[in-house]
């Protein structure tokens, strides 16, 4: 197994040591690179952290399996993308031409962030460990039921399916109760 595959696999597992060493490792170079854009230092650090979140998230979702570049190059592309997105938001962006080759999915569509999502997040945190885990795998890491069955060591897919269904139902009940109360 080469070094790149090792990094990707560690990120997929959410290995803290790898995350920490990448975080520390990429930071000086990223901030140096990012400093040529006209953004406050706080923003740059914020973007750096967002890009790191995106890297970890995409690794977990399995989006790094067929990576054509190194993890580092990929990470810098994400960072650059996010810098441009921030500049665009601040209406300071004039050209985005050299990003056209980079495709990157990052749903940051929290404009719809309503109270219901905030409440759901709260109830999610209060679920049992097993429910949190199965829902996290399904909705966040976008794992299918077969993968969940093996990760959670369920006897078969039907057990996973029933369990997931129960957890959703339970979350829904908590949600309804808090809306009525």
């Amino acid at each position: 197994m080469n070094k790149e595959t090792q990094i990707i696999n560690s990120l997929k597992r959410g290995d803290e040591r790898t995350i920490h060493s990448l975080y520390k490792g990429y930071k000086p170079e990223f901030l140096a690179f990012a400093s040529k854009y006209n953004l406050p230092a706080d923003d740059l650090l914020d973007i750096y952290q967002d890009a790191m979140v995106a890297l970890c998230e995409n690794a977990k979702k399995g989006n790094l399996e067929n990576l054509q570049s190194t993890v580092k190059t990929y990470f810098f592309s994400i960072g650059k993308y996010m810098i441009f997105a921030r500049l665009k938001k601040k209406k300071q962006l004039f050209a985005m031409e050299d990003l056209e080759t980079f495709t990157f999915e990052w749903e940051d569509d929290y404009e719809e962030l309503d109270d219901e999502i905030v409440i759901l997040r709260h109830h999610f945190k209060n679920l049992g460990e097993q429910c949190q885990q199965i829902l996290r795998l399904f909705y966040y890491e976008e794992k299918n039921l077969d993968e969940i069955t093996s990760t959670m060591k369920y006897e078969n897919k039907n057990v996973a399916k029933t369990q997931k269904y129960r957890c959703i139902k339970y979350l829904k009940q908590l949600f309804k109760d808090s809306n009525n109360g």
């Binding site: 790191m52 938001k89 929290y110 999502i117 905030v118 997040r121 829902l135 976008e142 269904y165």
Partner: protein
Amino acid sequence: MDKHELIQKYFENSLSPQEVAQFEKLLSDDREFADEVTFQKKIKKAITLEERTTLKDKFKTFENQKTSNYNWWYVAASIVVLLGTSIWFMGQKEDYDTLYASYYETYPNLIAPVVRNDKETITDREKAFVYYEKQDYDQALQTFQKIINTNPNEEYAHFYSAISLMELDEFENASKILSETKWSEKYEDDAIWYLALLELKNENLEVAKKLLQKTSKSGNYQKESLELLEKLD
């Protein structure tokens, strides 16, 4: 195909073209089905928000781990200095400002999670907490006050105004809000705790003790309250 299975495949991104058609049709014809899809999309967002925040908080702790850069003797030297100061303090009257400073912590934003988005307009509530998290307490305070002007019953706005005032070193005004507001259960404990700290800072020891006795019985400040009471005795 069973509706549950369709929704599941939708989230797994594994619907066949025929199933996509079936899914779309149900979405427009079947109200219950559409509601269920919307609900599960919200679950997805809620979990995503939670996971991202957790990870980002971890990164913030990475930023604070600066000590590893120092040599051991620096740590050793600090311990010597600390020991020295505490010995010095033992012989002194407790320095109440120091006590205040060591127990005071900014109350976290538990109201409106701050997330970036491209939306042009945000509510005053969101705006206030963006300032609050940016530690721009002056602007935060102004926005909380604006919220109170339109809706005097927004309890959180009163509470966070008081915290913002403390951050701005306007202790008297903070104290006024904390003591004069009729708090619900949600903020009562917090309000008493912060008020106790302010009374302590003001060297009103008897009042501070009385307040600390309340927060020492239960709640989030039990441990700290007991510690402080011990120090004040």
